[in-house]
Amino acid sequence: MKIQEADAKQLLRAEGLPVPPWSVARSVKEAVTAAEGYLADGSGAVVIKAQVLVGGRGKAGGVKLARSRDEAETAANAILGMSIKGITVRKVLVGPAADIVKEFYLGAILDRASRRIVVMASAEGGVEIEEVAKRDPSAIHREAAHPLLGLADWQARKLAFGIGLAGPHLKSFVLIAKGLVSTMLHNDADLVEINPLAIVRERDADGNTVERVVALDAKIVLDDSGLPRHPGLEALRDLDEEDPADIEARIHDLSFIRLDGTIGCMVNGAGLAMTTMDLVKRAGGEPANFLDIGGGARADKVAAAMRLILADAKVQAILVNIFGGITRGDEVARGLIEARAIQDREVPMVVRIVGTNAEEAGALLRDARFETAATLDEAAEKAVAAARAVGGAA
């Protein structure tokens, strides 16, 4: 689960990491009030940033600087309500604009190949790290944290020296790098990223100019499997950005992803669901979704899955592919019959059920006059043909 920058910053701050102040505003008025506060406190400018869970906000015009109340109003007006990659901006983060001396990249990810948390640092901050990795892999320094001991001080120091961050900032960098790993561990995160981590110029209480290292942005992706033991984090889920279908799928514990095609797919198992999509494509069709009903699905779950598929107006045919193991074929067949009895639009359906209780399933489906198929290849071809017939008639 992705969380918003403001929430990610809160989690970093909870680990003691240095993050400059910010406010979240859901209206132009709130944004202006926040901006006025920072400007009155002596900030020469404020930054206003769209809070959306997709990358590329800056390029899309979702990040603006404002030097006055009026500029803040104009900027907030422009950003709130704008669309970034199809997501409507409903809130902005407002904070004092930083006087940046130098930017870095710092991130911690779960690396499955090495089965370690890997901390990465680069002197090329503020830009997309994937781009840096492609252009010059040597510009990214890596250290693997020990699974039981975490990131050691010497490893953090090595990263700091690698990116040329020595001298007075070494100590703070070590704390930040270690804090990144502890943020990950304490929240069951898959990824914690600060881009940019920056040396900024600030005025201290006596009015002297000082430099310090701070997190100017934050990105955190949480492990869905860890959420049950962090009830507080579940509250950070941004329902504003979630498709109603995704919410519905989550309630029924279905793994569902909407795609652009016309053939709805219902399958048990992720690998088999992907394979079913591939075969639909191979037969000349386009899958409308990825849908894994999971192991041991009962009739009611099957009915919920069917509702999800049918809610997509583009769907012109449905392919059901079940290889019963823990899942019982007759349960699925009952769910399909139940779902068809109450569905509000007629869509051709091809059903293939093999494995556990396939015979009982076959009898139920025959009695209910469902179109069936013996093999996956055949089912895909039939579903594509059925969608064509519907599409052609329309």
């Binding site: 779960l110 499955r112 190949a113 089965r115 370690r116 948390i117 994937e130 990795a133 699974p147 039981l148 990950m184 561990l185 069951d188 898959d190 492990d223 869905d224 499997s225 860890g226 049950p228 033991r229 793994s255 992803i257 795609l259 399958v267 048990n268 198992g269 992720a270 690998g271 088999l272 669901a273 992907m274 394979t275 999509m277 591939d278 075969l279 639909v280 494509k281 191979r282 899958p287 990825f290 894994d292 192991g295 290889f323 019963g324 193991g325 823990i326 093999v354 494995g355 556990t356 093999t375 996956l376 290849d377």
Partner: protein
Amino acid sequence: MSILVGRETRLVVHGITGREGEFHAQQMQDYGTNIVAGVTPGKGGQRALHGTVPVFDTVAQAIHATGANTSVLYVPAAAAPDSILEAVTEGVKTVFCITEGIPALDMLRVVEVVREYGARLVGPNCPGATSPGRAKVGIIPGSIHREGSVGVVSRSGTLTYEAVQAMTDAGIGQSTCIGIGGDPIIGTNHTDVLKLFAEDPETDAIVLIGEIGGSAEEDAAAWAAEHMADVPKVAFIAGRTAPEGKRMGHAGAIISGGSGTAAAKVTALENAGFLVAETPTEIPALLRRAGVS
């Protein structure tokens, strides 16, 4: 021979008194697996599977009384890491974790301890392994198998059943079929299994089933190219049409930053001497073409 599970397997079932555990334990016993014990803390002294299997409170008691050497877990995600640690610390050398939904960072620590004890963990979130005619551990339906000499390794559950059923229907039997699990952090990867198959005198050919995401298939391909050059090898990769940036069910199955694509995996496998099937049903024909009789 076969690998990981066989006639020498003396299985202890963690969570044998639960609904899932009891159901699958019965299936495994019916298949002929030697289930010697069950473990459910607080239910020691009971007997499971119609009185045929003693239940213990601890793994230590189970090993002491029955000589159990293999564990299979049907316990909730919150309890599974602890069960794995108990099994390997008490001396079990092969552990299958069927449980799904375990936080990845838990597995990071668990995998490290498993390695320390020199044990092998398969999974989590895996369907287990079957050596046809000998034993099955996990949840793979016994009916899809046929005894033979093709080793099957896969990240998926039902997709594996599909492939194995196609092989069985075509008269091609299997030495051992292993589902390694779809989570990001797993105990045993494709390459680990290939190494075991390479040492197994009864495995004459390989079927590798993969998915988009990560680089485990590419790594396995590189290993096979070097160490299994003369072994007939067939592969299938799911997710050729999956869009980038969308997680396809399995926590590991995602194409990100242009890596983990099906195309890259297919190319790596073909370059390593694998015949790559476009559908699971093509697998038997490709095995024949590769020289499997």
